[in-house]
Symmetry: C2
C-alpha cells in the first residue's frame, strides 16, 4: 500500500553533506520552501523544537533579570542612519517598505534586520536617572536580512530570533552583562543542545556593525565547518551618544549609559541537525526534542497491547516526559524508520510477549541496541536512557571537535591544513586585519572565528606575515 511504503532514503553524509542536510530538513518535516525566495515555512515538528528552545532560553533570561518587550518591526530610514557604522553594516541587506495604505510613504521604512536603533529611541524616553538603570530587555521576533544564497535555518531572508538589549550605569556592569549572556548561551548549547563549542572574542574585522566588542559561540559541524552560533555585543556608549541618551548619575552629573545586545536564532536548529544527525536522519538532544519517547505497540490488534501502551505512555507523561504513542496502521518497520528520521531519542516497543514478561524494549537513537527493561523500573530506565543519549551526543561532538581541530605554525602549513583537513585551525596572529584578509583570499574562505578565551601558544609569530604574534586565533570556514 502506498501509505505503507518505507521511509524514503536520504543522501549519505559522506556522499554529499549539503544534500544530506536538505534531505533531513525535508524528510524529518522540519521546514519547507515558500513562494518567496529565501523565506522558509517552519513546519510543526521544526516549530516544536523552536518552542522548546524558546522555553529553555526564556527561563534563563528571566532568571537573570530580563524582561520581554515588543518593538515595532518597521524602522524609519533616518533612525537606522543615526549610528554610522551600524547603517553601513546593514544597509546592503535591507528589505524596504515604500508603500502603505496605497500611498507612497514620505519616509521609507526598513523591515528590522536588528533592533538596536528602535530600542535606543525608546531608551531615550524611559531613561532619565540612574534609578532607571539597568534596563534589561529582550524580544522574540522575526527579522529580515536580504540574503543572496539561502538554506533553511542556516541562512534565510526572514528568520526568528531573540535579541536582548540592555542599558547600564557603568562600563563594568555592561561588560559583565555581555559576558554573562555569552555564558548563558554556552551553558544552553551544552546542556540543552548537547553541543560543546568554542567561545571567544571576534576580531575587529568580524565585529558586529557598531559594536566595541563582539563575543561569539562557535560550534563545529560534523563536516568541520563552523556555524556562528550566537553573539553578544558590548557597545560602549556609541549608540547612546548618537541617540542622545543620558541619565543623571548618583553624583547628580549627566552621563551616557553603556549598552549591550545579544542574540541567537532559528539557525540553532541547523546546528542541531549538522552536529548530531546521521545517515538515518535527525538525532535530537532530549532537552529540546518534541517527542522524547515514541511508543510503538507491536501486534497492536492483539488484546491488551494498546491498553498497556497507553498505560505506559501515561506513566511516562506523569514524569513530565514528552511521549508519542503511534497506534496508526503503518507497519512497525515504517514507524521505526520514521522516528529515527525524526531523531526521537528513545523508542519503546511493547507487544504481547513483553506484556507476559512484564517488560518492554527500549532502543536509544544513538546506540540502536535493544534493551529489555522490567516495567516496574520503566520511568527510571527511560530517564537513564535519555541522559545517556544526551551524554553520548556531547561526547561525539567533543570528539569531532577535537579530531577536526588542527594547528598551523606557518603560512605554508596554514594553507596545507586549510586545503587538506576540514575543521578549525589554531594559529597565531599579529592583530592586523590585512592578514585575516590575506588568509581568507588564499584559502578560499577560511576566516577568523574568534580569539578564544583559552588561548594556546602555537608559535611566536603570525602564521600569515611572520611578525610577532599577539593572539591565538581559531580559524575556519563557516556557514
Amino acid at each position: 500500500m502506498a501509505d505503507k511504503k518505507m521511509v524514503e532514503q536520504i543522501t549519505p553524509m559522506d556522499v554529499d553533506f549539503a544534500q544530506w542536510y536538505t534531505d533531513v530538513v525535508k524528510k524529518a518535516e522540519l521546514a519547507d520552501y515558500s513562494g518567496v525566495k529565501g523565506c522558509m515555512i517552519i513546519r510543526p515538528y521544526g516549530y516544536a523544537i523552536w518552542e522548546n528552545i524558546q522555553r529553555e532560553l526564556d527561563a534563563r533570561f528571566k532568571k537573570t533579570g530580563h524582561e520581554n518587550v515588543y518593538m515595532p518591526m518597521f524602522i524609519p530610514e533616518s533612525l537606522l542612519q543615526k549610528e554610522k557604522d551600524h547603517v553601513a553594516g546593514f544597509a546592503p541587506e535591507c528589505a524596504i517598505v515604500t508603500i502603505g495604505g496605497q500611498n507612497k510613504l514620505t519616509e521609507r521604512l526598513i523591515v528590522r534586520p536588528t533592533s538596536e536603533t528602535v530600542f535606543c529611541e525608546h531608551f531615550k524616553n524611559v531613561i532619565q536617572s540612574y534609578r532607571d538603570l539597568p534596563k534589561l530587555y529582550n524580544q522574540w521576533v522575526n527579522v529580515v536580512r536580504w540574503e543572496k544564497t539561502t538554506r533553511p535555518f542556516l541562512r534565510t531572508s526572514e528568520f526568528l530570533w531573540q535579541e536582548g538589549h540592555t542599558m547600564h550605569e557603568t562600563e563594568e556592569e555592561a561588560r559583565k552583562e555581555t559576558l554573562q549572556m555569552l555564558e548563558v548561551y554556552k551553558e544552553f548549547y551544552l546542556n540543552c543542545l548537547a553541543i560543546p563549542a568554542v567561545v571567544g572574542k571576534k576580531t575587529d574585522k568580524e565585529k558586529f556593525a557598531g559594536a566595541v566588542e563582539t563575543y561569539t559561540i562557535e560550534p563545529m559541524m560534523q563536516n568541520g565547518v563552523a556555524l556562528q552560533g550566537g553573539t553578544s555585543h558590548y557597545f560602549g556608549d556609541g549608540f547612546a551618544k548618537a541617540f542622545d541618551i543620558t541619565f543623571t548619575g548618583r553624583d547628580n552629573k549627566i552621563y551616557y549609559p553603556h549598552q549591550t545586545s545579544w542574540g541567537v536564532s532559528t539557525r540553532m536548529i541547523g546546528a542541531i541537525i549538522m552536529t548530531h544527525g546521521d545517515d538515518s536522519g535527525l538525532i535530537l538532544p532530549p532537552a529540546i526534542a518534541p517527542i522524547q519517547v515514541v511508543i510503538i505497540p507491536v501486534a497492536q490488534h492483539k488484546e491488551g497491547v494498546l491498553e498497556k501502551a497507553n498505560e505506559l505512555a501515561d506513566r511516562l507523561r506523569a514524569k513530565g516526559i514528552r511521549v508519542k504513542l503511534d497506534d496508526s496502521d503503518q507497519s512497525a518497520g515504517w514507524k521505526y524508520s520514521q522516528y529515527e528520521m525524526k531523531g526521537v531519542p528513545v523508542r519503546l516497543e511493547v507487544g504481547p510477549r513483553d506484556i507476559e514478561n512484564n517488560s518492554c524494549v527500549l532502543v536509544s537513537r544513538v546506540s540502536r541496541e535493544k534493551n529489555f527493561v522490567a516495567l516496574d523500573a520503566l520511568e527510571a530506565e527511560v530517564e537513564k536512557m535519555l541522559a545517556f543519549v544526551h551524554d553520548e551526543l556531547v561526547e561525539r561532538a567533543n570528539k569531532n571537535l577535537a579530531q577536526k581541530t588542527n594547528t598551523a605554525a606557518s603560512y605554508e602549513e596554514f594553507l596545507d591544513v586549510a586545503e587538506n583537513k576540514p575543521g578549525f585551525i589554531k594559529a597565531m596572529w599579529c592583530g592586523d586585519s590585512a592578514c585575516e584578509e590575506k588568509l581568507k583570499e588564499a584559502t578560499g574562505g577560511v576566516k577568523s572565528r574568534c580569539i578564544p578565551f583559552e588561548e594556546e601558544h602555537i608559535s611566536d609569530t603570525c602564521a600569515c606575515c611572520g611578525k610577532p604574534a599577539k593572539h591565538m586565533v581559531i580559524w575556519g570556514r563557516q556557514y
Copy 2:
C-alpha cells in the same frame, strides 16, 4: 524628592473616556508610541500580560489538537490576489516591500495582513490524501494593516495576534471547528479575562473578506462601545478552489478540503483596560495579571519586617502565585497608588504590629477594604481573594452589559436609543444589507455586531424598513 512624588493623576473616565484610556496605557506602563506612526512599543508590563494570554490560549489550542507553525511574513502580490474577495478586502490597507538588498524587486511583497494565502500555498504541498487531514495549524505572529487612525492596542498598523488555519475532510467537520474555536475564545474571555460577551454570526456585510460565515465575540466596554474581540471563519472550499488544493477521499475520488481560520490579538489588552479599569487605573483579572499579589512592607527598616515579607512571598510563590515584593525606598502611599494604577488584584501589607499579631493585611483592588488575615491561613485567604476579584469583575461587566443593552422596535425608537443611550441595541432585521447601511448612516456609526446565537423576539418587523424580520441583531458602535 522627585523620585518620591505621588503617582500622577489620570483623567476621570466620566470626563473623557478616550483620554482616560490613553492615560492608563501610559501611566500603567503598558505601551508607548514609536517613531513610526501607528506602531506601538509594548513595554514589559504590557508584554507580560500578553505572555500570560498566550500561555493560556496556547494550552487551549494544543488541547484541541492544534500545532504551531511559522509562515513567511512576506506574501508575493500575485499570491494575495488569488482569492478575489480576499484581496479586495485587504489591498487598501497593505504595507508593501518594493526594495530588497538594494534592488527593486521584480514582484512586490505584501507584509502579511493575515495569512490565509500563504497557508493555502503550503496546504497544497502537504495535503494529498484524506489521511493528511485534518491539518490543525496556528501561528503567533505580527501582522500589518495600514490604519489611518490608531490607538494603542485597539487599532495599530502593526499588531501581534494568533491566527489558526485549518483544513478538513468535510464541511461538517470544518463548521464544527469554526464553532469550537469561537467557544474556546468565549470560555477564555470569561474565565481568564473576566469578560462576558455576546457571541454570534456576522451579517454578510460584516463578514471577513473571503469567508462563507464569520462568527464573532463582542464584549462591551464600560462606555457602551463594542470591541470586536475575536473572529472565527468558515471558508467552505473557496480558497481551496482558488489555490487548487485537492485530496483523494476515502472513496478514491478527488475532493476540495474545507477550511477555517480564527484569530485574536493584542487588542484584547485594550478590552481588559476598558472593561475593568476605573479612575485609579487598571484592574487586571487575576488569571492574566503579571503580578497577582504585591507585598508592601510597612516600616521596612524595622527588624524582621523584610525577612517576614520575603517569607510570605516565598510561601505564596510556592503555591504558584505571581508575587512582587516592593522593598524600594518609595513611600507606602506612593506604592499603594502605583500598584492600583497597575491593576494588581491583591495588595498585602505587613509591618511590625502585624508580625506581632501573626497576621497581615490583604486589600483587593476591587473593594479596597482592609482585611486582617491570620498568617497561618495566608495561602487560602489570598486564593479566596483572587477568586473574589475575578468573580467581582465578571459581575460588574455583566451588570454593565445588561444595563447598557436596550431594545428598539421601530426606526424612530432605534434612532432615539442610538442617540440617547450608549450601548447595544437589540432590534429585528429583514436580512437586507441596505438596512444596515441606512441605520449606520442615520446614527453616525451604529453597525450590526452580530446575529447572536440566542435571538429574542423584539417585534415582527425590521426596525429599519418595516418588512418582515428574519433575525434579531445586536447593534452598536465599535472601536
